[in-house]
Amino acid sequence: MTAPPAVTDRHALRLDVEEFLYQEAALLDAWRLDDWLALFTADARYEVPSTDLPAGEPATALMLISDTRAMIAARVKRLNSRKAHREFPWSRTRRIIGNVQVTSSEGDEIGVAANFAVYRARRDVSVYMGQYRYRLVRDRESFKIRFRRAELDVETLDAHGTLSIIL
């Protein structure tokens, strides 16, 4: 790991990261999924571990979601269809992101942790809350997502029934 940047640089980096996460959340809340998909690198992954095993890894445990870039694209295609019945019509979502921390910086890659609460409204309101873990890479003035993982704090999906939205 390289030496930690100076304080002001760290603040500037965190602000850049926060802005990126807020923009990403806005794309998801607006169901602009094709634009969202464009944020990922070609080797990207998106993971959500099972609720009973938040530290679960896809090589050893049953996850809720373990997507390669191709699977993320397939997920977007499905959600854009009128035949993804759980999400037709689309639910309304609202994402609140906070406690954003840059946890590592190595080469072109930045590790990020952030808290989230994703509210989903359709017939009922349910809340998915937990922590994001990202690995972002610098891309001109902004970032691309190489790794995106949402670890849920809810013990079960009893209130939610499914995980049909993108967390």
Partner: protein, 449 residues
């Protein structure tokens, strides 16, 4: 109230089968199910691989009761009711773990892993006639296992598990024999609830008719990934009554199976290993049975509430009713023990599992939507009282027909009437109506009532 005829109409003469929607909404029916089904049937609890070492335990709510499923200090698999015999507090408050002792947090009564009461703080304050032996943990009337799958029965007079499983044993073996070295449950569970009556999930879990519509996006995904080469697979195969309410759809694999049916989704690299697995299955079980294990889908119901779907992977799904209009689900991935953690084979299995199955899959969320939308529709049950399950009564039941669902309902209605399991259906259910078709008479209007 008679369930047969009144609420479940099985009109064999006309080839009509209907169920009254009150069965999905009524609190009285829900209460009766506890007595008539869940207090007498063998209910799945867990797999022995979940508790490999002495002292390992998991908590499960089964048939409405809180259970601790554990391996005692001597290595014996046991179940205890998870309630302190002193005043009732929940004894074990962790979902899983390993222990030598269960100490109640309320007054510190403590029990060893065999359920024996070993510590009562301030024991000298009890009467000399107080008999600790009366206060060991409660245990269910019957527990038994079939090849690592553990079941409970709250009825001491129930038939043995093997007898209960009846024709389902053949299909359980077709699943379990895929492993060279036994099966295990992969860590991590899908825990979720659906706002519908539990019986809708039973129906849906072995309903071939809905796949092309509800799962259109999944079928598209399979095509996009170069799979689904057997175009007619979803429409072929058959539904079978296995006796005692158990049923199965068996059909040619419509897409990739990690055990031994390669499609491009798995990648070229995987081809050799999957071919070797197929060769091993054929070597061990013969050409026909080996290919059947590798190459067919099985959607299996163990009556009343265990689903084993051996499709894009193997899922063990336990359905627990929680209210007339709600049920919870626990679903696990079952894998051959030889597919080690970190192996490419296990990775393929889990990846394949997640494409279709589970709350975040490309298919299961749409099933949940279908079930919840039915339950909402039942609000009009007074005016629109019947659901129809007649498909395939006047022909040899194919995999898109509904014989396997009728099999559930026939046993359900008979047990709810206190009459035991009905005769197994082995031929065409409505030969008279079939004869009509053969004579190309117009379809009968078939007024069931």
């Amino acid at each position: 109230m008679g369930y047969r005829d009144e609420l479940v109409v099985d009109d064999r003469r006309n080839g009509i089968f209907r169920i009254n929607r009150a069965l999905m909404t009524s609190p009285d029916v829900y209460d009766r199910e506890r007595d008539a089904l869940f207090d007498h049937c063998w209910l799945y609890v867990g797999h022995e691989s979940e508790i490999p070492r002495p002292g390992d335990f998991v908590r499960r709510g089964v048939g409405g009761r809180p259970l601790i499923f554990l391996r005692d200090a001597g290595g014996t698999v046991r179940m205890h009711f998870n309630t302190c015999t002193h005043r009732g507090a929940t004894l074990c408050r962790e979902d899983a773990g390993n222990t030598r002792i269960f100490q109640c947090f309320y007054h510190a009564w403590s029990f060893d892993t065999t359920g024996k009461l070993v510590i009562t703080p301030g024991a000298e304050a009890y009467s000399p006639r107080f008999d600790r032996g009366q206060y060991h943990l409660g245990a269910p009337a019957r527990t038994d296992s079939y090849r690592g799958l553990w079941f409970v029965n709250y009825d001491a007079g129930a038939v043995d598990l093997r007898e209960y499983l009846a024709g389902a044993i053949e299909y359980l073996d077709l699943v379990l024999d895929q492993a060279a070295d036994g099966m295990r449950i992969v860590r991590g569970a899908h825990l979720y609830s659906v706002k519908s009556n539990w019986k809708l999930m039973v129906e849906n879990s072995m309903d071939g008719y809905h796949a092309p519509t509800v799962h259109a996006t999944y079928v598209d995904f399979v095509k996009d990934s170069g799979g689904g080469q057997r175009k007619a697979a979803l429409a072929s195969g058959r539904g079978i009554d296995l006796g005692h309410g158990h049923a199965v759809i068996e059909s040619p694999a419509a897409w990739a199976r990690p055990i031994a049916y390669w499609e491009p989704f798995f990648g070229e690299d995987a081809r050799d290993e999957i071919e070797r697995t197929l060769a091993r299955l054929i070597d061990a079980h013969g050409e026909e049975r080996g290919r059947r294990m590798a190459d067919t889908f099985r959607n299996l119901l163990i009556f009343p509430n265990l689903i084993i779907n051996d499709v894009a992977a193997i899922t063990v799904r336990r359905i627990e009713p929680t209210a007339p209009d709600r049920h919870s689900l626990q679903a696990w991935a079952l894998a051959p023990a030889e597919e080690a953690e970190g192996s490419a084979a296990l990775q393929r299995r889990l990846d394949s599992f997640l494409t279709f199955l589970g709350p975040g899959g490309f298919a299961s969320p749409d099933d949940v939507e279908a079930l919840e939308s039915c339950q909402q529709g039942f609000a009009a049950a007074r005016e629109v009282p019947w659901s129809d399950i007649s498909r395939g009564m006047a022909s040899a039941a194919g995999s898109q027909d509904e014989l396997q669902i009728r099999t559930f309902w026939r046993s359900y209605a008979s047990l709810m009437d206190g009459a035991g399991f009905p005769e197994r259906v082995t031929g065409i259910e409505s030969p008279e109506a079939a004869a009509d078709r053969a004579g190309s008479a117009p379809a009968r209007a078939g007024a069931a009532r």
